[in-house]
Amino acid sequence: MKVRVKFFAMLRERAGVADLSKEVAEGSTVGELWRQLQKDYPKLDVPGIRLLYAVNQNYVGIEHRLSDRDEVVFIPPVSGG
């Protein structure tokens, strides 16, 4: 199955890409996707960073299981305001 991944801010700059489609195994979790993306884009491995995870624009836990066509966003420390 395929999911869509968007990167923003620091992660967008580190990945060098804002938006991608990624083939993942059925039943993959958000955390597994993140580890795969870190292999594809080694600069995503930021020491000490704390991420939040959003699937289809809702926050989810790292163990959340993905579905086909999900929109997945890895959210680095927010700093609006």
């Binding site: 801010a9 620091m10 000490g48 624009q57 609006g80």
Partner: protein, 144 residues
């Protein structure tokens, strides 16, 4: 009205939006770009958002505020892109019958924005730039 925009934010429009015959108090909060931060001379802030989710989270903050305090109306607009010194990056406006609720909801909203809304600011300062992050205990140098 809960949105992100690339345009300067119109305070009057937001105050007019929350004006209500039942309201005795309107409290706007305006976040502005300061010319210094942690000893650095700031030139501008540059905001980026995950826009669809940011607007959804801003609306969620409005809903939460309404369950917590007896407010009339609320609006939050966050600006994206470069925001120069003295300009507004975010404006929150709340109207309520009584000032306690208006102050409390305004304060709540700005704290929540800084915790949960997917918006990021890059500080452009003399000699460099850095993504500002508040969820991490790491020194800024580790993040860039």
């Amino acid at each position: 009205m809960f949105r992100v925009t690339n345009q300067p934010i119109d305070l009057n429009e937001l105050v007019a939006y929350v004006t209500d015959p039942e309201a005795g108090a309107i409290v706007p909060f305006i976040g502005t770009t300061r010319n210094n931060n942690e000893g650095r001379k700031v030139i501008a802030l540059d905001y980026e958002a995950y826009p669809e989710m940011a607007e959804k989270e801003l609306a969620r903050i409005g809903d939460d505020a309404k369950t917590k305090w007896p407010i009339c109306k609320m609006a939050i607009v966050h600006r994206l892109g470069p925001v120069q010194i003295g300009e507004a990056s975010v404006i929150i406006v709340v109207s309520a019958a009584h000032r306690d609720a208006a102050f409390a909801a305004s304060r709540f909203a700005i704290e929540e924005i800084k915790k949960t809304v997917p918006i990021w600011k890059k500080e452009v300062f003399e000699g460099g730039e850095v993504w500002i992050g508040t969820q991490t205990g790491q020194p800024l140098s580790a993040l860039k």
